[in-house]
Amino acid sequence: MYFGLETTLGLFLLAAALIALRLRNLLAAAVTLSVFSFISALIYLVMGAVDVAFTEAVVGAGITGVLFIVVLFHTSRRSVD
């Protein structure tokens, strides 16, 4: 029904995942993972699963992002590998 919208969001999702993998700055990678979570929440919303989308937006983008950033305070900012 929303095939074009789903395809576009899927491409954005893939782009966010690849950028998060390629980035050397770990803070930017954590923020890009939050972007990934928001896009997947939008995909759930388009597919009609409002409750799942809500949970993904709150937990995936909010809490997980905060926890990643907090862990980064205790380690170095840049990846070495």
Binding site: V50, T55, V58, G62, V66, L67
Partner: protein, 146 residues
């Protein structure tokens, strides 16, 4: 996090934003059985508002909102509300979480179901909020704590 240079724009914005996040989280918890949402999502949003204050204004000031030592007790209280509701219906002759056995007078069967689900969601919300904030505090404390 231990630096004293905090951005005033960041502090003002997050202090303005946090009460509205909490209000919406309460709406999500209490409206959970009519629409999307519920105890888990609302509790996670409450935790997100506390974590926003923890990150922006610092641990000392944000402890006025939710103390570090409250994590485990409030989480246990939420779990106790959930389990207590279920066990109360069990004691009063029903099965676990069979809401229409709840001892609330002058309520029909459907209203008792609504009230029981509300109790469950308040319990789940409290537990989720306290545990998520507790995880954050434990990570910030670093290794070597209790």
């Amino acid at each position: 996090m231990t630096t004293s240079s905090r951005n005033p724009i960041l502090i003002t914005a997050s202090r303005l934003l946090a009460p509205f996040i909490q209000l919406f989280a309460l709406y999500v918890i209490f409206h959970g059985h009519y629409g999307p949402g519920g105890g888990f999502q609302g509790g996670a949003m409450l935790a997100a508002s506390v974590l926003l204050l923890r990150l922006s204004v610092g641990a000392e000031r944000s402890e006025l909102k939710f103390r570090k030592s409250w994590g485990t007790p409030v989480g246990a209280l939420g779990a106790l509300i959930f389990a207590g509701t279920g066990l109360l219906t069990l004691l009063l002759g029903g099965r676990f979480l069979e809401y229409h056995y709840l001892p609330l007078p002058d309520l029909s069967r459907a209203e008792l179901h609504s009230a029981g689900i509300l109790l469950i969601e308040v319990g789940v919300g409290l537990a989720v909020m306290a545990v998520l904030v507790g995880i954050y505090d434990d990570i910030m404390e670093g290794p070597g704590g209790d």
